[in-house]
Symmetry: C2
Subunit: 140 residues, 2 copies
């Protein structure tokens, strides 16, 4: 049996897609399993063949991830994009994410304040006895 790989002018193998989108091959397959990417066309021999739009879809996922969205949330976002949700839905997701980010910042800032206070109190000189940092961890 002899097969010819029929690649239309613009379609991509998984390797080229991954390269163009800036992710690893395994990541593409992983996104497919997670249903963030639709099942691609296949050549006669089973190779995945992607339309160039897939590059944009992966970049979408990556940018959303960089903004702090989880893959589940990105799934929802892509669903709204694909099926035609409303701006209100997208905005609601964004605002919820914003609140989560704010909560994280808040939490880190509270930690930061404590840590800074401890660091400032500690002379950094001498052995560990009466180190205010250790003390504060040791007692209430």
């Amino acid at each position: 049996m002899i097969h010819l790989m029929i690649e239309t002018v613009t379609s991509l193998t998984i390797g080229k897609l991954a390269q163009q989108a800036g992710v690893g091959i395994d990541t593409v397959r992983f996104y497919e399993r997670r249903r963030l990417l639709p099942e691609p066309a296949r050549t006669a021999s089973g190779y995945r063949l992607y339309a160039p739009e897939s590059v944009a879809r992966i970049r979408f996922i990556r940018r959303a991830k960089d903004l702090g969205f989880s893959l589940d949330e990105i799934d929802t976002l892509l669903g709204l994009h694909d099926v035609g949700g409303t701006k209100a839905e997208v905005k609601a997701l964004t605002e919820r994410k914003l609140e989560q980010i704010d909560a994280k910042i808040d939490h880190l800032q509270r930690i930061r304040t404590v840590l800074k206070g401890l660091s400032d109190q500690c002379s950094g000189e001498g052995d560990i006895s009466a180190c205010p940092i250790i003390e504060s961890l040791t007692h209430d």
Copy 2:
């Protein structure tokens, strides 16, 4: 064979230790495996027996964790505490942690700015076409 559980006035079984320290029993055993807690004494039948100081040690771990230290870092901190490190070492660890926290806050704040910008641009009305949030994820 009949054994009596010899609990000196102040020593604790793992359950009571866990309860007083505010963690689960499994967490105590986990900390022991991680060598954050020394191997405890045992009764004749193999039950772990803890001195009351162990409560403080677990609280130490918890407080350090709440301040953002990893268990590995806490191991180091406890080592300094136990073996007698210097204030300089403890302070250095604290300052490194402070830098990490600052980096995280920075990162989150950059994300926050982008997200806020997008949210503000989106009217939240109508179908998803030309949604500035989706658009920004779709293009560069």
